[in-house]
């Protein structure tokens, strides 16, 4: 009988022992509450712990990095472009006691994060032009750099003064103290997606199309221009080549003409009359042929002997 009572006690003790033991996982931290009131320090390191059975309760909170996914929403930028912004943040429960007292659990914490972060993101994105949110640095972009209207020039070459990193930093700075009150450490906030809203998207597409079309046109006209340039060059080269050749050949010929004239003048100058005599004879030889009719008068030198052998010389005289 005594041993049975002892055994019963033993069983109760064992049950009590087991219901009083609790395990804190690597990813967890726990707070012990007694009738809803927190007792002692938070258990932040993993391992086996004991509490008073039945009276005390263990409340677990995650210790690792948690996620918050923003509700993607339309936000107008300073330059009145409506964009979709999808943000996410990572956070940690660093003060489980405060966390437990102020928000109680992760679900309601996420609701607080929604309130604070969505508002902060909206605030800051609204107060900057779109480009500031899109770009991070003033890295020089490689565009086709074609002379388009002022609009485009401005859009592309405008530099950012703040940039996405700074904007996000401001969001974090605004949200951090507010979340610290809940025992939450905001690790960071990031923009996951950023896009134009449907209606804006259509007009952006049309703008992109127009932009490409004019680049295409530019290419075409550049091609034509370049081809015309080459054709013009060809004409010019052609004229240059032929005219230069003409010029050189005329110079050569002129020089030769002059040289020949000098030679002739030098030689023939000795007796111009004799020259015309023999040259004339030569021309006779060349020009007279069977088609030529010749009327000779007996007066001529050639026929002087035809009527008279010339001794009297009287006829000749007559």
């Amino acid at each position: 009988m005594k041993s049975k009572i002892l055994a019963g006690f033993l069983v109760i003790i064992i049950i009590g022992f087991f219901s009083g033991a609790y395990v804190v996982d690597e990813t967890e931290q726990a707070i012990i509450t007694q009738f809803g009131r927190a007792v002692g320090e938070a258990k932040t390191s993993p391992g086996l712990y004991f509490k008073v059975p039945l009276i005390q309760q263990a409340n677990y909170f995650p210790k690792n990095l948690l996620q918050w996914d923003g509700d993607p929403g339309q936000i107008p930028t300073l330059d009145k472009t409506y964009i979709w912004v999808d943000t996410f943040a990572r956070w940690k429960i660093v003060d489980p006691l405060k966390f437990f007292q102020t928000v109680n659990n992760v679900t309601s914490a996420l609701a607080r994060l929604d309130d604070i972060l969505d508002a902060a993101v909206r605030n800051y994105i609204t107060s900057y032009p779109l480009l500031e949110t899109v770009r991070v640095t003033n890295r020089k972009l490689d565009t086709f750099e074609v002379g388009i209207g002022d609009n485009q020039e401005e859009r592309i070459t405008r530099n950012i003064s703040t940039g996405r990193k700074q904007i996000i930093k401001q969001v974090q700075e605004q949200a951090r103290p507010k979340l610290a009150e809940f025992g939450i450490q905001l690790v960071d906030v990031k923009i996951k997606r950023l896009n134009y809203v449907e209606e804006v998207q259509q007009s952006v597409y049309s703008r992109m199309i127009a932009e490409r079309k004019q680049i295409a046109e530019k290419f075409r006209s550049e091609g034509k221009g370049e081809a015309s340039k080459i054709a013009g060059n060809r004409e010019k080269e052609l004229k240059k080549i032929t005219s230069e050749a003409y010029k050189i050949s005329q110079e050569i010929k002129g020089k030769a003409d002059a040289e020949a004239a000098a030679i002739y003048a030098e030689a023939l100058g000795r007796d111009p009359q004799f020259y015309s005599f023999i040259k004339t004879l030569e021309i006779y030889k060349e020009t007279m042929d069977k088609n030529t009719s010749l009327i000779l008068s007996t007066d001529s030198e050639f026929l002087q002997y035809l009527k008279d052998y010339g001794y009297s010389g009287s006829n000749l005289q007559k």
Binding site: L65, R212, T242, A260, A267, E282, D289, N291, K307
Partner: protein
Amino acid sequence: MSWDWDKLMEQKKSSSGGGFGTPPKMDDVLNKLRGAKGRFPGGFKLIILAAVIIILVSSSFYTVDVDEVGVVQRFGRFVRITQPGLSFKFPSFIETVSKVKVRYVFKEEFGFRTVDPGIRTRYASGPTYESESLMLTGDLNVAVVPWIVQYRIKDPYKYLFKVKNIRSTLRDLSEAAMRVVVGDRSINEVISKREEIAGEAAGILQKELDEADTGIHVVTIEMKRTNVPEPVQPSFNEVNQAGQEKEKLIYQAREEYNKVIPAAMGEAEKTIRGAEGYALSLVNRGKGDASRFVALYQEYAKAKDITKRRLYLEAIQEVYPKIGTKYLLDADMKGLLPLLNLGKSEGAKQ
């Protein structure tokens, strides 16, 4: 199957690495059980005991595959990492093991999903996937940028314990990193410089993952075909086409140029050579004519009258026979001239 227990225990001891508690010895466990058995005789109790033993034993050893490691927690606290092979631990309510594939390369796809991997892999794309890949470029255009991230778990401890929802954290960080890179690139760069973008995004992502203590190592980021949104694609193709057209026009013009200019240069050379020939011939002839004349003149100067007479008569002699019709007129007869029909043709005369 024969187990070399000692050897196995040796291996396990060496691989478990110092520090994190020692695994229970099989012999000890068996001894304890044997001892316990003696205190509880009886059929029903024996069955319960056997069941307990089976549960305890079966949850006391586990195998770790070649590409995994086992992460053992004792009462929630991380105690050790075990390497591939058969390992022992305390029964399940004391020690638990999570297996992490540390050598396996995982893949996350963005902007599409592989539906049917194979030689001709099929991909699915749709509005849901599209929103992952649609992004704004630095020149405020819209680009479609699908990509994949390949990663390995380099630190199983961090991977398991440091971050909740680690896969979606990885996906979110990847998207954010890619958008940061694309946000600083023009649409042209996004389309043409994929390697560069992938490299930079991988760098940013790795940094973020390290900062978040994820224990993930990014093996590579690979960009799929980056493009512009579908409604805009024809206009981009048009630009490419126009570029080709431009080249074509220029080449055609050059062809025309090359066809004409070398020929013209040859022609010019020919003209110049012709002139040079003309010059040579003119001068030479002049010189020849001059020397001939001078030579003749020298003889003529010696006997002017007779030479002149001779030359004259020789010329007459040569010329007169060639002349077709000759009329002799007596110098005394007048008025004959009108009678001559000077215009008559030779044919009519015969």
